[in-house]
């Protein structure tokens, strides 16, 4: 039985994700997907939201794709035949994506304070050794770069950041740690991120932020969102302690 997958000349590809979701792929070149797609994905998300398509429950962006979650029951109740649900929804999404965006969201530039004190940077030596540079240079290079949030996932509020200077690429640890403290700034391969909550993980921990990146009592609960530009600002241990008191 063939997989229903629709593709138009604008190179948007829509594929089912089970019977209650679709994956909308907005970027053709998967290999570059991590770097270039944030704008396209945000634009596409905005257009799908503005179209207010009946039956769509929520959207979940990730790198070059958007997961569109829907309620087939609602679509069928609105009069669409069960056999035509996915096709109807795909068509509606293609139509929405061909529209001009009415409102464009601003790109935010967020500064994230980070303390690279040795107690918070258990893997900094490892990163320094792999890059064949002193730890002070690693921190300088890390903070000089401008990152982009490509995806929020893995745990609530966890930002996958692209833009890591190539020389700081460090493979994941062979044995993941059972608990990485909340706020930990880490490098995994050519990506970097911050653990909002304590969790197991295999990335290389190089620092810690006093910022609370996830708070379920806030709206929105995640401090960062896809498309945000991020810079890290090195702070002293004193400043870190003052921020968290």
């Amino acid at each position: 039985m063939p997989l229903l997958s629709s593709r138009r000349s604008d190179s948007i590809e829509i594929t089912p994700l089970g019977d209650s979701a679709l994956i909308v792929r907005v970027h053709d070149k998967v290999e570059n997907a991590r770097e270039d797609s944030a704008n396209e994905v945000l634009g596409a998300m905005g257009r799908i939201e503005e179209a207010k398509i009946a039956g769509i429950v929520e959207l979940a962006p990730a790198y070059a794709t958007i997961g569109v979650f829907f309620d087939p029951g609602k679509v069928i109740a609105s009069g669409i035949e069960p056999d035509l649900v996915s096709k109807w929804l795909s068509d509606k999404i293609h139509e929405a994506l061909s529209q001009r965006r009415r409102h464009k969201a601003d790109v935010r530039l967020i500064e994230v304070p980070a303390c690279f004190d040795s107690e918070f940077a258990v893997d900094l030596e490892r990163v320094a050794s792999v890059s064949e540079r002193p730890t002070s240079e690693v921190v300088d290079h890390y903070c000089a770069a401008e990152y982009r949030v490509a995806c929020i996932g893995f745990t609530p509020g966890f930002p996958y950041l692209v833009g890591l200077p190539k020389e700081l690429t460090t493979p994941r640890r062979a044995t993941p740690r059972t608990e990485i403290p909340a706020g930990s700034v880490a490098i995994g391969g050519n990506q970097t991120g911050v653990y909002p909550l304590p969790s197991p993980g295999g990335w290389n921990v190089i620092g810690r932020t006093p910022l609370r990146l996830f708070d379920p009592t806030k709206d929105p609960p995640a401090f960062l969102r896809p498309g945000d530009k991020v810079r890290f600002r090195a702070v002293t241990r004193d400043e870190f302690e003052r921020s968290t008191s």
Partner: protein
């Protein structure tokens, strides 16, 4: 008034139909791993179908009711003096025990008035990994007292101790001795070779003890890929069957992460998620491919039947 958890059991949590609208923040949907079972149980006791209930795993749970309540439960083959799918009247001080199930592993108990815990990100479900929601963000423990919502007037007018009528057997008792999950091909189906396709749809897998609310890990024939391209993470859903490098599939369940980078070979259809929610270590599970159209027709039929059931109940209450 309250219900006291005298014995919590193996893993007991407050769940509703899940946390919708926060996937984009990396928040798992969670909720009852069989939302349909909870909806049915809620209707049986006169609650709104979205009310929070109690999910119990592998038994050992004992509850006591401080005041008169209607209760109902659906799910696995638990040994309970109130049969699955029936509404029952609990008097003030009465206790209810869920012993170890013979088949399946989870059940969902609804209590008239619903479990009264705060909404967090629009849901009363417990997010165990991130420790929020439900009963102060954790599994229930011996001695916990649950606040219950106000009973609706219609809920107090029952005449039988245990209702003679009930929800259908299919909806009330969802564990199968030899579970078969109907699946759709996933986006990465063609990344796997013919032997993998054959193994998935004709073979059988054993549920590993290393399974939990995030997913059921399966052991069986190795599902081999044609390529070794490093995939970029994208959204996944409960029911998604991922295949990590060791070739052993994982059926994702409600607490799964919002995105994943492992290839998605197939997806369990929504109407079979209740069967997936009962998978227990040692169970022998197999898969059968169906079409998207069939999956939607089955879902449409179930929702139509559910609406009839809802109407029928409202005439009684």
């Amino acid at each position: 008034m309250t219900a006291t958890i005298i014995r919590a059991g193996f893993l007991t949590t407050i769940q509703d139909l899940g946390r919708i609208g926060s996937r984009q923040f990396g928040v798992s949907v969670g909720g009852a791993l069989d939302t349909h079972a909870l909806r049915v149980a809620n209707l049986l006791v006169g609650n709104d179908e979205t009310a929070a209930g109690i999910e119990m795993t592998l038994g050992g749970s004992q509850l006591r009711f401080a005041d008169e309540r209607t209760v109902a439960w659906c799910g696995g083959g638990f040994d309970v003096r109130v049969p699955a799918g029936h509404a029952a009247m609990m008097s003030a001080g009465e206790e209810l025990i869920f012993n170890q199930p013979k088949t399946g592993c989870r059940s969902w108990l609804a209590i008239s008035g619903g479990i009264d815990v705060p909404l967090v990100l629009k849901s009363r479900s417990t997010d165990l990994r991130a420790s929020f929601g439900g009963f102060v963000g954790r599994a229930l423990r011996d001695g916990d007292e649950l606040s219950l919502g106000k009973r609706r007037r219609s809920q107090t007018a029952a005449t039988e101790k245990i209702s003679s009528w009930s929800a259908s057997h299919d909806w009330s008792s969802t564990a199968k001795a030899e579970p078969v999950l109907r699946v759709l091909r996933g986006a990465d189906w063609d990344r796997f070779d013919a032997s993998a396709h054959h193994a998935l749809t004709s073979g059988a897998f054993i549920v590993s003890p290393d399974s939990n609310r995030m997913g059921a890990r399966l052991e069986g024939p190795e599902l081999r890929r044609n390529d070794d391209v490093d995939l970029v993470s994208e959204a996944v859903a409960p029911g998604t069957i991922q295949v990590p490098p060791n070739g052993q599939p994982i059926v994702l369940l409600g607490d799964c992460q919002t995105i994943g980078g492992y290839p998605k070979i197939a997806h369990v259809i929504t109407v079979d998620l209740p069967v997936a929610a009962q998978l227990r270590a040692g169970d022998r599970v197999s898969f059968r491919e169906v079409s998207l159209a069939q999956a939607h027709r089955l879902l449409a039929d179930r929702e139509r039947d559910f609406n009839c059931f809802k109407t029928g109940l409202s005439l009684r209450q």
